[in-house]
Symmetry: C2
């Protein structure tokens, strides 16, 4: 039986051997939720890049360019990190380059895996279906916050573990922890997260509707997967 | 109100600023449980050292020398990492030098804190009392397992958070997670931990009685605190 493990911070990734495994990069608030939303609404492919200048350079190639730093849109970019930006008709058929504080790093540092998926509550069921078919060991790579553990990405890992229970072993310590937390929180994810100083900080940025949107389960049936430099919808 | 934060791995310590704070190093299975037991049974002071050869050198200075690697006693040493080794009359009045896979590293990497305590379930209440009197921000430094997150140290952090609730803020994400997990697990800590592959590995070393001993709360009323190179009982 394959197993599901959880890496709570990209800083801990050097301790994980991703070879032969599938990495699921997650930054629920809000990078991977926005990416899932964008691909579901017709963006054709996404370049997840680490640096602002690297991202801005894509503008000359007719990409939409999106950047978030410390929770807000960076200057000179078309879009920020709100999933609502990616539900507009104007994104359909476009290419997108995006850089965020945490999420794009989690994706780019997972590249030694056999495959890198992008997960969010919005596409939880689709990711679970993909993993069940692939039948390989899984590592959920939580973006965290500037290297630190965060609750929302861990809750996603717990939700994914719940969906995979029975078909995957959950006996890694980090997986058991995430699964327990999700059992406590799932009846009221927003209420659970609202105790967090990190989420309180996001609330001060007036993105409560974003947070509520990102906590919805199974809204989109798309699985973004890394192909070379780009995220595309898995077929 | 001071806060309690949790660092799930010594690998993440560079992200924490320990200045002005108290660090509580914890390696429940079994290093810090053994240290607490040793000081409670009359060991006068403990040198926590990182390397085997460094630890063995203390033998010439008439120290008891203790070493564990990968769960078993290292060759040439007087004692291993079982708390039962430290309840003997023979340890009374002796000096002890100890090195373990994870625990001594957590202590030594916490030295930038204003004070470094050693915590375990065995002295949970004593540590909580000390912290309440000190009234400074706290970071629980979990030893983990070779840099990875582990359940038992996190559960200790959650138990300590529970004891400090009301007097300390618990709103860091890692603290909220640890607190939740402890609420789920506290009715049957052994049952909760027995799902863990890490604890199953320890069980294969036939140290189940050690684990049961280490999960007992409030057995000893001692707080080991680092003074220079040595752990001594806080007065």
């Amino acid at each position: 039986m394959p197993s599901i493990d959880v890496c709570f911070s990209p800083e801990l990734l050097p301790l994980y051997d991703l070879k032969g495994k599938i990495a699921v990069a997650v930054d629920v608030l809000r990078a991977t939720s926005s990416m899932v939303t964008a691909l579901a609404h017709g963006v054709t492919h996404i370049a997840p890049v680490s640096e602002l200048h690297e991202c801005l350079a894509y503008k000359e190639k007719n990409y939409l360019v999106a950047a978030e730093r410390d929770g807000v849109k960076a200057e000179g970019f078309d879009l920020g990190n709100s999933p609502f930006h990616y539900r507009e008709d104007s994104v359909k058929g476009r290419f997108l380059a995006i850089t965020t504080t945490n999420g794009t790093q989690a994706i780019n540092r997972s590249r030694t895996a056999d495959a890198v998926l992008v997960g969010a509550f919005l596409n939880l069921g689709a990711v679970a279906d993909y993993l069940r078919k692939a039948n390989k060991d899984v590592v959920v790579v939580c973006a965290g916050w500037k290297g630190l553990f965060n609750l929302e990405d861990t809750l996603f890992a717990g939700a994914l573990a719940e969906r995979l229970e029975g078909d995957f072993s959950l006996n890694h310590d980090a997986t058991l922890a995430a699964h327990s937390m999700y059992q406590v929180a799932k009846g009221d994810l927003m209420g659970y997260l609202s105790k967090s100083s990190h989420v309180q900080r996001l609330e001060r940025l007036h993105i409560l509707p974003d947070i509520e949107f990102c906590l919805q389960h199974d809204v989109y049936n798309v699985v973004p997967v890394l192909e070379g430099e780009f995220l595309v919808v898995a077929q």
